[in-house]
């Protein structure tokens, strides 16, 4: 738990980041420097080379002045000089053990007589020695004092030979190896031909020397030779450097270890910081910081500039290790990269990486400006301008071909060709979609036109059509709802009417059974009885009509024999016909006539027609019943002579509440034919009425079994929609 809290602590993580980076950077640098050992090896050689050069080019007058100074102040002693000269004569090696320097110089004349030697690397000290020795040896040399005073080391002093531990490799060529990034010292060893371990072994530093020829006048020259002490045991600054290099080389694995440890710390803390970049503690909302106020692209450029400043700090490898400088460089670059990565992650999480850029903002501004301008352009121009543009490009293509720029011209024309095809296909497809949608709408299928693949003006058109269809859909639904509501209302009302009607009928009946003195009272009671019975019939018919016409009546279709139905209906009515002196002449096929229909509803239709005949046919006439069939339908026809003049059209008879004779006050609601028509339609059939003078014809056409329903001239639902309130 503690550790979790620790890694969520931002300052501690930042601290860890820098500690890791510094540790890793410093150790990496140390290890990296080890691969630059060649520099140090070079430097040993170069250092004593330059010593000798300095010696040769010493300003004699300046030295002389200093020497006089010494002599005047009693520092100079003839005997000392003598002693020194003797020592030198005894041999170079005897002085080599001196504890002052690791470098040693000798000057010989042309006959290889030793003129002087110095075991100091201190310039002034050497100069004193040289002067001293030169002075004492003047008589024995060919050089005059004057010549010595004006002595200058010529620019062309020849290096006669050169002995170093790097016999066959020149310094200049080695520089490349010194910069090699490879940390493996093996490569360097191979390049120098001597293993590093051996080079640094004191035993092998045996009297390496370098010899210069310094010409003096025309007669001759003298030779300066530089030596390096073989055991390298004097504690001068070179020795110290050498020791540190040696130490570093021994510790090279420790550097690697610390470098890796520092790297891991850095990586871990960076990941911890980046993982929580821009998130609050609940890991829910993204919170942008001050940095995120700077546009991404501007921020990127700023970070790049800052990096450019820091990179030389780590790139500039020099002779001397500059660990602190490298650490500053590494820390700076690390901090910049971390900052940048952190900010980028926050921007991604806040979904503003690209939106919060200066470029994006400028482009958006341009886009809006263009859009606004385009809106102002009249819509006709929007069609014309692309066509003109197309033509111009096309002409340009043709022109290019004419000017023998065939490839370019063909490229343009083919591109245009492909583009035009794509556009034409798109337009044709969109037209197809719109056409289909429109056709559906015309057919009454109010589905929405899919807008997915439509574009531009087609899309707008589709949307317009869709909103029309939506409106129509709503209107139809509302209509249906109101129809259903009306049917329900009629049902409820007729139920409510029935209760008081029951009382009226019952009490009228009770009255009719009483004895009244007044004959008129009996007559009035008769009227009450008749009218209440009529009211009752009306109530029932209204309910039935509303159900039949709105299609709320349930139809149970089954296979029935129409011939049986006719037989049954005849049986029901034959006596009633006889009573009215009507003769039924029927002609029905002998074989069964199967149809799919609701028997009860079809019976209601025929019952209605037969009742009408009983009521309105002229007494003493014949009533003709014909049933015929074709392949697809069965036709039933009932003909009778009307007792009264038919002053109404067939259409009017079908209308609700209209009866053949308004004058006669018979029972019935006038709904009979309307109900019959609606019920016939529910069976998939058609009912027609024809009036020819006094001849009344009722025709019912029904589809044969398995045949398509017959087309109904007028849809029942629509006729109800137009109908008067019942």
């Amino acid at each position: 738990m503690k550790f979790t809290k620790l890694i969520q602590n931002k300052p501690i993580m930042i601290l860890t980041f820098f500690v890791g980076l510094s540790l890793g950077g410093a150790n990496f640098y140390q290890r990296q420097n080890l691969s630059n050992l060649g520099y140090y090896r070079n430097s040993f050689s170069e250092i004593y080379q330059s010593r000798i050069k300095n010696l040769c080019s010493a300003d004699i007058s300046d030295i002389q002045e200093r020497m006089e100074n010494l002599r005047d102040n009693g520092y100079f002693d003839e005997s000392t000089s003598e002693q020194l000269r003797n020592q030198l004569a005894e041999g170079v090696l005897s002085d080599y053990t001196e504890d002052k320097t690791n470098f040693f110089f000798t000057v010989h004349d042309m006959k290889d007589n030793l003129l002087l030697s110095s075991y100091s690397d201190d310039y002034q000290y050497s100069a004193v020695e040289i002067y001293q020795n030169l002075k004492t040896e003047t008589v024995e040399t060919d050089l005059t004092e004057e010549e010595y005073q004006t002595f200058q080391l010529p620019e062309n002093a020849n290096i006669l030979d050169e002995y170093s531990y790097m016999d066959n490799v020149s310094f200049e060529e080695d520089e490349n190896i010194a910069y090699d990034d490879d940390l493996d010292s093996q490569a360097i060893d191979e390049a120098y031909g001597v293993p590093m371990e051996e080079v640094l072994d004191e035993e092998n530093l045996m009297m390496h020397h370098i010899r210069y020829e310094v010409p003096v006048g025309d007669d001759g020259s003298y030779y300066v030779t530089g030596y390096v002490r073989s055991r390298f045991d004097a504690n001068d600054k070179y020795k110290n450097l050498y020791s540190s290099v040696q130490r570093n080389y021994r510790n090279r694995y420790i550097y690697v270890g610390f470098a890796i440890l520092g790297g891991l710390l850095t990586l871990f803390s960076a990941l911890m910081l980046l993982a929580r970049a821009g998130l609050r503690d609940e890991f829910s909302t993204v919170k942008t910081g001050v940095t995120e106020k700077i546009p991404t692209d501007v921020f990127s450029v700023l970070i790049l500039c800052a990096l450019a400043v820091h990179i030389p700090l780590i790139d500039d490898f020099v002779y001397m290790p500059r660990t602190l400088q490298f650490m500053v460089g590494v820390d700076g670059i690390g901090a910049l990269i971390l900052w940048y990565a952190h900010s980028v992650i926050v921007r991604i999480r806040a979904k503003e990486l690209f939106t919060n850029t200066l470029c994006f903002k400028i482009l958006r501004k341009i886009y809006h400006l263009t859009k606004r301008t385009a809106k102002a352009v009249p819509s006709m121009w929007k069609m014309i301008v692309p066509v003109i543009g197309f033509d111009i490009v096309n002409l340009f293509g043709i022109y290019s071909i004419a000017e023998n720029e065939t490839d370019f011209g063909l490229f343009i024309l083919i591109s245009l060709y492909v583009l035009a095809h794509a556009i034409i296909f798109g337009i044709l497809y969109d037209l197809y979609i719109l056409e289909k949608g429109g056709q559906n709408m015309a057919d009454g299928i109010l589905d929405k036109i899919p807008e997915k693949w439509l574009f531009g003006r087609f899309l707008q058109h589709a949307r317009n059509l869709n909103s029309i269809s939506e409106g129509m859909n709503k209107a139809v639904t509302d209509k249906l709802k109101s129809e259903m509501f009306r049917t329900e209302l009629i049902a409820n009302v007729s139920h409510d009417i029935k209760t008081p009607l029951t009382s009226i009928i019952n009490y009228t009946d009770l009255l009719s059974k009483m004895n009244f003195e007044d004959e008129q009272a009996t007559e009035y009671i008769d009227v009450l009885g008749r009218q209440s019975a009529r009211l009752r019939k009306l109530t029932e018919d209204v309910l039935e009509a509303s159900k039949a016409t709105t299609g709320t009546a349930t139809v149970h279709k089954e296979k029935i024999d129409f011939r049986v139905l006719i037989e049954q209906i005849e049986g029901e009515f034959i006596e009633k016909f006889n009573l009215n002196h009507l003769t039924l002449v029927s002609s029905v096929p002998e074989h069964p006539l199967y149809i799919m229909a609701d028997g009860r509803q079809l019976w209601r239709v025929l019952d209605n027609l037969f009742n009408n005949v009983c009521k309105y046919a002229m007494s003493g006439t014949r009533v003709y019943l014909n049933v015929s069939e074709t392949e697809s339908e069965i036709t039933f026809m009932l003909r009778n002579i009307s007792a009264t003049e038919l002053n109404l059209s067939a259409e009017e008879l079908m209308e609700r509440f209209v009866r053949g004779d308004r004058s006669r006050n018979t029972e019935g609601s006038g709904l009979g034919l309307s109900i019959a028509q609606s019920l016939t339609a529910l069976q998939g059939g058609v009912m027609e009425l024809q009036i020819d003078g006094d001849l009344f014809k009722a025709i019912i056409r029904l589809p044969q079994m398995n045949a398509e329903p017959l087309t109904v001239p007028e849809q029942p639902t629509i006729s109800v929609a137009k109908g008067r309130p019942a």
């Binding site: 139920h495 409510d496 209760t499 009382s503 019952n506 009770l510 049954q568 209906i569 034959i574």
Partner: protein, 246 residues
């Protein structure tokens, strides 16, 4: 709507004891009208104006038959009949303004014995009350073990005596009508086409039989049904034929 008058119920059915009838309707005028009609038949009449009152009366009095309205406040007829049937076996006749088939079926399924739709003919009500009482009080026993006796609803046909009775009253049928009824009662609830019926009874029909099967059926219906326009037993299946439903 001419109601059949061929059933002679008046004075034919005599009973030594008086029956208790409960009339239950929220419409007081209807209750009163029914009281007037039924009082002529020497019943003891009880009234209630909703289902709760009806159940109270049934607890209190030895009710023999109930006339029950469906649409009532407090507790409607259907709920009343459900409650009632938990304890009592009394005949219940529903009085309803709802003329839909589904309403009738629901009422009968819940335990009603008969139903009458409003507006009703008082004579029909009286006939149905009488019919139910007879069945409940006198004919409620097990059907006769004799193989020659057939019973559908309130209709009994005794083939050994060639006798048809409705609610215990003898009905006079022509030989053809008897043959048709006998054929149908042997296989109740099965629909027979007019042709099948004709073939089955032809042996007993003299040549040149007057009228068709449909006419005979109508005649039988007028003799055995209380309301021939709405037959309870001898039903026409339009376009298919006829059946005797029990």
């Amino acid at each position: 709507m001419g109601y059949n008058s061929s059933i002679k119920y008046k004075g034919v059915f005599k009973n030594t004891m008086k029956y208790n009838i409960l009339i239950c309707d929220d419409e007081k005028d209807i209750v009163n009208a029914l009281k007037i009609y039924l009082s002529k038949e020497e019943y003891i009449l009880h009234t209630a104006y909703n289902g709760i009152q009806a159940l109270e009366v049934i607890e209190r009095e030895p009710i023999d038959i109930i006339l029950l309205d469906i649409m009532m406040p407090e507790m409607d007829g259907l709920e009343t009949i459900t409650k009632l049937r938990e304890e009592y076996n009394i005949p219940v006749i529903l009085l309803t303004a709802k003329s839909e088939d589904t309403d009738k079926i629901l009422g009968l399924d819940l335990g009603a014995d008969d139903y009458i739709t409003k507006p009703f003919n008082p004579m029909e009500v009286i006939a149905r009350v009488r019919s139910q009482l007879r069945r409940y009080k006198q004919l409620g026993g097990a059907p006769s073990s004799s193989s020659s006796v057939y019973r559908i609803g309130n209709i009994t046909l005794d083939n050994s005596e060639k006798l048809v009775t409705v609610d215990g009253e003898t009905v006079s049928l022509t030989p053809t009508e008897y043959a048709i009824l006998f054929f149908l009662i042997k296989q109740p609830n099965k629909v027979f086409s007019p042709e099948e019926i004709y073939v089955a009874v032809r042996g007993e029909l003299p040549y040149g039989a007057e009228g068709t099967i449909a006419v005979h059926i109508r005649h039988i219906r007028e003799k055995i049904e209380i309301n021939p326009a709405e037959p309870r037993f001898l039903k026409a299946v339009w376009g298919q034929g006829y059946k005797l439903e029990g």
